[in-house]
């Protein structure tokens, strides 16, 4: 297969940072907090195993977890003043449901919450449709659903993306952003319940 093959999503060519250096951003978190910031640096996050919800019996759903089974901290947590842009996929054969924060569903339709299965790596190879953002340590949570008729030894999620550091900006600049005089990129760091 070629990288020039047809993709499900027009934007699914490569993962690019949502903003660049010196861009203004409006961080939106739950419940409707807004932070106006300026990006002063960013760096890539290579693919890594971000969370393992643990072994899962057949036809069961795991607890909703923001950390790996048995771990104390979330590998999605960021330092103060940072947000991240994530893409991710399940490495094992389960369906993952994403919450951000834990009480608020992502990919929420009117009647169903969408899940992401391992098949995403074939249907959307660049994972653009899995993209979400998170702010500081306002961590995402996941549920793993084992829909199969066999037990799973692990329910691992691989994540990758970019980490952006931001700095505060003065009120005068914020006023200009709100007035539409300075461009600003909204960065949604929450689900929409």
């Amino acid at each position: 297969m070629s990288d020039l093959m047809l993709r499900a999503f027009k934007a699914a060519i490569a993962m690019e940072p949502i903003v660049l250096l010196d861009y203004y951003v409006k961080i939106i978190t739950y419940p409707k907090q807004e932070y106006y910031r300026k990006v002063d640096y960013y760096e890539s996050i290579p693919p890594f195993q971000a969370i393992n919800l643990g072994a899962l019996a057949l036809q069961t759903v795991s607890a909703r977890l923001s950390v790996s089974a048995g771990a104390a901290n979330s590998n999605f947590d960021l330092q103060d003043n940072e947000f991240a842009q994530w893409r991710w996929f399940p490495l094992d054969n389960f369906m993952a449901r994403l919450f951000l924060p834990a009480g608020v569903a992502k990919e929420q339709m009117k009647f169903i919450q969408l899940g992401v299965e391992k098949s995403i790596i074939y249907r959307d190879p660049t994972l653009v449709s899995t993209e979400f953002n998170s702010w500081e340590d306002e961590r995402p949570a996941f549920e793993a659903m084992n829909f199969s008729d066999y037990a799973l030894n692990a329910t691992r999620i691989i994540a990758m993306g970019y980490r952006f550091h931001t700095e505060e900006i003065d009120k005068e600049t914020i006023d200009k952003i709100k007035a539409g005089q300075i461009p600003c990129t909204p960065v949604l760091c929450t689900g929409r319940a």
Partner: protein, 125 residues
């Protein structure tokens, strides 16, 4: 080269000599990576198996996890012919994924005979 997001790393275990029969003598032929400082849980999928039978007699080689009474088959036992090289390739092996050391044992051995076993795996995680 097309990106393969779930592709692991291909590595081989060492050559392991099996000189004793029965599950009580099951021996690791590939050990799962479980270093305390590694990020995440590793697993592996056996891709190739090469067995040299050193005058051990024609036998069945069991492949699984665990030792002694805890041994559990991961694949059906394979028939290993006496005094021959015996090999199984990826397309002949079910794509089982193991999260523990892979162990093996022959069901019987002629006195003084042994097996040299080596497995190639795709390590994921």
């Amino acid at each position: 080269m097309q990106t393969e997001l779930d592709r692991g790393v291909i590595v081989s275990g060492g050559v392991v000599n099996l000189a004793a029969a029965l599950a009580a003598n099951a021996t690791a032929i590939f050990q799962v990576s479980n270093f305390g400082q590694q990020i995440g849980t590793k697993s592996f999928i056996p891709k190739k198996l090469l067995v040299r039978n050193n005058a051990g007699g024609t036998l069945w080689l069991s492949l699984g996890t665990g030792v002694a009474g805890a041994f559990a088959d991961a694949l059906p036992p394979v028939r290993v012919m006496n005094n021959l090289d015996n090999s199984w390739q990826e397309f002949e092996l079910p794509r089982v994924e193991l999260f523990a050391d892979m162990t093996a044992f022959p069901d019987a051995l002629v006195a003084g005979g042994s097996l040299d076993v080596q497995v190639e795996v795709e390590e994921k995680g």
